[in-house]
Symmetry: C2
Subunit: 475 residues, 2 copies
């Protein structure tokens, strides 16, 4: 161990290695949790070569490693366990190249998402993955977690935009897929395993993304509707009318509006009559492509599908309408002890699923206030459930919600990732064959389980001897 730290000191220098306890503590946390364990050290390589050599030193010494980007994760996936080092990408930062003809951008993994977005926009292009933490979240972190956000409806998850990766594998070998090819069927796609792997298979050092034409014109409306069923009808109607001009379709349940507008008075209540609210956004490259939006909303109201609506007439008004949706951050801060679920089901099942969760939680004594808000067009809801802060309450509430989730064939995490906080609930959405396949996937790339070993899976806690050799289901 001491020999490894000595070798790392020589390799990385004073700027590249943090061992002072006072400086280590912020590397023990993400945006959801302050971990109980300090890392042994924080490695801050500046080049791929340094990263590769640092990983090789740790691998040879058997030291667990936790890759870390902007620490904006919400599942504890970048929080180091006891005895691990953190490998931070914070010094591997900066846009390396923007190719306007091929519409690609290459950046160091530690580059903040917002810097990537701005570099694209400076060329009249766009990198359309967008999340609230864009100023701190790194492009490498968003790839490692397959980040979602509010524009998934239109542009898909991060996976869709990744054109190339450079990865330091858990033994220090460098896997480079940075050719920038839009089409490449020369064998298995070696980028895919690492996208959404939460740092458990390797350390991403460089990223190449496909950019798209910027869509600077937008139209935004906040709608009041009877319930989720009406909102779903509205979604289908919007898609039918505007196709993929539709860029966001965010749902706010009455309990959310009540919390934001009444309980904490964070934003004035937009409508006199409480109901279900939807933020509907269109985006286009030309203003004319948004024509007919107001008329169409008028038709929906005449047809009785929408009860009330506010259309933004300026960018300021757009920001004010978005503030209602973005107040979820403030709710999160003010609610006190609570679980923040990140669930997805099939798009058409979301209303019934939420209803079933509400019903179930009413029978759970530990469950306090329930608040629901989400990406309705993607079948993704964030359910916040207040409790008394005890572990027993957390377990009781989680068990109830995941029990309903299993009935609806949903996922325990739509976009936040498994990390450490959802690891033990994975089987609520993965059957035994899938669990075996997940473990096997981990073992290919990280046979010694040194890379972020407590996230997604804990190989040491499971019997993995009979992986592929399962009898077929019907046997």
């Amino acid at each position: 161990m001491t020999m490894a730290i000595d070798a790392l000191t020589t390799l990385l220098g004073a700027a590249g290695l943090i061992t002072n306890p006072a400086d280590l503590s912020r590397y023990a946390a993400d945006a959801s949790v302050q971990g109980p364990d300090m890392p042994l050290a924080v490695l801050r390589p500046k080049t791929t070569d340094e990263a590769s050599k640092a990983v090789a030193i740790c691998a040879q010494a058997g030291i667990p490693m936790v890759p870390q980007g902007g620490r904006t994760g919400l599942s504890g996936g970048a929080v180091p366990p006891a005895g691990a080092v953190v490998i931070s990408t914070e010094r591997m930062s900066g846009v390396i190249a923007v190719n306007t003809q091929a519409m690609t951008l290459t950046a160091w993994a530690g580059t903040p998402l917002q810097v990537v977005q701005e570099a694209a926009r400076a060329q009249g292009l766009d990198y359309p993955v967008d999340i609230g933490a864009r100023g701190s979240a790194t492009i490498g972190g968003t790839v490692a977690t397959n980040a979602g956000g509010i524009r998934v409806l239109r542009h898909g998850m991060t996976r869709r935009h990744v054109l190339g990766l450079e990865i330091v594998l858990p033994d220090g070998a460098v896997l480079s897929r940075m050719r920038g090819l839009v089409k490449d069927n020369a064998g298995y796609d070696l980028c895919q395993p690492f996208i959404g792997s939460e740092g458990t298979l390797g350390l991403i050092t460089q990223v190449m993304v496909q950019l798209c034409p910027d869509e600077p014109f937008s139209a935004l409306a906040l709608l009041s509707l009877r319930d989720h069923a009406a909102a779903l009808d509205c979604l289908v109607a919007a898609r039918s009318r505007f196709g993929d001009r539709l860029s966001a379709f965010e749902g706010m349940w009455p309990d959310y509006l009540d919390a934001v507008c009444t309980t904490w008075s964070l934003v004035p209540a937009p409508f006199a009559t409480p109901g279900f609210a939807v933020l509907l956004e269109l985006r286009a490259r030309a203003d004319a492509q948004l024509d007919g939006f107001q008329d169409w909303l008028g038709e929906l109201m005449e047809a009785g599908l929408v009860d009330d609506g506010i259309v933004a007439r300026s960018h300021d008004e757009e920001r004010r309408l978005w503030a209602l949706r973005e107040a979820v951050g403030e709710v999160d801060a003010q609610l006190g002890p609570h679980i923040s679920f990140d669930l997805s089901v099939a798009v058409d099942q979301l209303g019934q699923f939420c209803h079933a969760c509400d019903r179930k939680l009413r029978g759970v004594q530990a469950a306090g206030q329930v608040i629901k808000v989400g990406h309705l067009g993607d079948g993704n809801v964030h359910i916040l459930v207040a409790h008394d802060g005890s572990d027993a309450s957390v377990t009781a509430i989680s068990r109830s919600v995941y029990c309903v989730l299993r009935e609806y064939n949903g996922s325990v995490t739509a976009e936040h990732g498994v990390g450490r906080s959802k690891r033990d609930w994975l089987t609520a959405c993965r059957d035994p064959v899938e669990m075996i396949a997940l473990r096997r996937q981990k073992q290919i790339w990280d046979p010694k389980s040194l890379m972020n070993p407590h996230s997604i899976l804990d190989l040491r806690a499971s019997n993995t001897a009979t992986l592929i050799r399962q009898p077929h289901r019907s046997a």
Copy 2:
């Protein structure tokens, strides 16, 4: 072996098993090659359960299996080697469900692509992957090969549209990912390894795809330009003006136009002056979104970027313009012995790369006529090179082209797949770490190498002992 065939006969019945030599021969070919070896038998399961049990029987008997869809492949990837059985999905056919609210479609793997497209369109939706072989190619086959086609520029490869798969693994276990979740970050994405795996990791039995809103309105122009550089400028201008209304941007080199219009007189020459030709298509949900197309083309001509142009004024005229591009099939049939390369490089490098290939091939005695046509917006060119039919010529020409390809960091196959015909050229675009990773990927899922064992990789021909334990590059 006999015991296995007996067990398969009992399991699948007379309709489910072909062993008559006269009936076997068509299962020994794909669209590119008639294999020299007849399969031992063709298994035609009708359900996932039958497929699972059939695979388990073969696995236990150590019989290699080759999954087969519509046999429209162009790389020999579905052609069985000696001693293997074919597992055909031809009886697992039909659309199972279309969900218009979630915009998803579920089908048996053996369903023809065109049937999937038509089922989507019947609901005002679209499945946007489109290839010439749509009537025979199966949805399972397009997933297994990550099919591309003419609309990749707008909609991406097949990978982007796959929402779920059901797969029989090489030991008969069934891996099911059919929850239909748009967002699911609950561990590694277990669909990804199978997309583009060409039947080497398992047998796809069911597919769920994400549909998109139909875009029934189109505008199409055939343009004559100086060269590829002018075409690339035109691509950038089209993207800048129309964003993702741009749905196709197909390039035809002068040698292609000469072959089609002069050598074989398949289509009348569209322009008096020979040059580089581009088919530029826009698609939209409303006719008004295509406004300004003619004016914009006029501006390009005034600016000297485009030399001449023909805009289609009806669907009939659109078909006539497309005929020029689609004549590649007839060229393929009439050219005599030739190699059909399926290459990709970064989008902005394609012109220089083709130029370098031309230059190189002029020095190769074995190389006859060279014809270039491709998906310019994706950096993908199909280069046809005539030769005298000898193996030596094939090797000499291939070596020359792939040598140039390596300099340009391209891929030996953009969309047709590796199969058997490009397997031995993989290292032209994959470095040693990648080759190790590819082999490891195969070994996880198919440790006995029973599933399509001669495609993509031949594990038995390679030393795979030191997979992940590579020293890092700089060592």
